[in-house]
Symmetry: C2
Subunit: 244 residues, 2 copies
DNA sequence: CGAATAGTGTCTATAAGACATTATACT
DNA sequence: AGTATAATGTCTTATAGACACTATTCG
């Protein structure tokens, strides 16, 4: 290309975070209320611009995770979703946003003592149903993030990131059922989870005492991040098919 | 975050293309020789900065595909790989590059009549073996692009993008073997490809006359993009396992 | 005891891998 | 013929899904 006398355009770079968690058997996403224009007062994904020209993008994502969500970045799974840079996505000018996916264990309350007092967990369904609208192209980013999570837990141990340090197999099944939005047979789930070597390891002889029923064995994440064999998501009516 | 009196840093946005093809049973990538500093004279992925502040990123990728590779973007698969934005990746200053993966059918010659006379196909292996070094972080981008292609052809009909309009099942097997770097049993491959409904459809009663042997039935891409059941890549010694 | 959850076992259909055999071109 | 590639078929094993059954807690 000819670079003579021509200057490439400068743009602003932002990061946006899709932070997913499980609360009362539903998939929730962390949203903040925008305090300034544009979209003032609307709900949006946590995020913000790079701090300075030498800040790494992933570092910025970790910083926003801390500042806006009050979450300790060090123990969280963080994965890049991609770049979102439609020219019209931000009315202030050209902004390219790099989106990240983060998975957090079920946290009871909106998170206190942070910059973002306005932050709160909202059911993902409220957004996908169109009931709750998000600022910018954040609905698209959220959709992509959820879809990424759905496919990743098939082949990776990512699902354990939704759980606490120790968890039962039922807890894990809850994760899969909620993220995929399906019901699974617990007996087959047991077999498959145990067959995936290195996925989970028994946590001593501890057992969890629930309200009723037989106490469950506790587990923690195993050393393996890639599942073999994988936990394949059952055909949700239209995941494929019917194009012929 | 506090936006008062503070200006977010401006950065340059570029696109880089990993354009893969098959030439003589080897995976090749399109590289250009850099004509200006930095990395002048080195090999690099085709790419460049956004033309202007209102150019869409995907549009820029298509434009570079045309300008630097002379490829008609309209019939090519183009998929975003992600954003690469390490602060030190470009010595000229802060540049965030959005990388795209493109798959092209086997084209015989380096592509003529384009801006980029310096463009040429190089075996991917030359790069991954360390024999050929690339500018910037392009080795990483290339590695990510190849890995993406490897996993995508398991579940999608992307492999047909490496083929011409019509192709034989052997051609398709060649694609899988080359991209995955393994040998497959042709008889099992036949069965599985045919079992994936909507993957390929017979192209009339045409047959290809090769140099020797029985002529093969010709096919073209089917209507389905998602493969069901998928074509799973065999365990390459260390794709998983051995972490225990 | 009954209710509820945890965990094991069994059967069947489907898909994967190994490998034999037939079919149709070329020289 | 002989050779080379295309295509179909068979057998065995592994995995997925459906579902019966046993185990252990609480009230």
């Amino acid at each position: 290309m000819s670079d003579e006398l021509w200057e490439p355009p400068s743009v602003l770079v932002a990061v946006d975070l899709v932070i997913l968690t499980l609360r009362s058997a539903k998939l929730h996403v962390l949203l903040v209320e925008r305090g300034i224009a544009p979209y003032e007062g609307d709900q949006a994904l946590p995020g913000g611009f790079l701090n300075n020209v030498s800040e790494d993008i992933l570092t910025a994502a970790h910083r926003e995770l801390r500042e806006e969500a009050g979450l300790d970045a060090s123990r969280l799974h963080l994965e890049q979703l991609g770049a979102y840079g439609a020219p019209s996505r931000d009315p202030r000018g050209r902004v390219v946003s790099v989106a990240y996916l983060a998975i957090a264990p079920g946290l009871p309350e909106p998170i206190a003592g942070t910059d973002a007092a306005s932050a709160c967990w909202r059911p993902v369904e409220d957004v996908t149903s169109g009931q709750l609208r998000l600022a910018f192209d954040h609905e698209q980013i959220l959709t992509d993030g959820v879809e990424r999570a759905r496919t990743k837990i098939e082949h990776s141990a990512l699902a354990t990131a939704f759980c606490d340090e120790t968890f039962t197999i039922s807890d894990l099944q809850q994760v899969y059922e909620t993220v995929w939005g399906v019901r699974l047979d617990s007996r087959n789930f047991y077999r498959k989870v145990q067959a995936a070597r290195g996925f989970i390891t028994p946590a001593g002889s501890n057992r969890r005492r629930s309200t009723k029923g037989r106490p469950a064995q506790l587990f923690r994440r195993g050393p393996r991040t890639v599942l073999h064999p994988p936990l394949v998501r059952p055909d949700p009516p239209t995941r494929n098919e019917r194009t012929e």
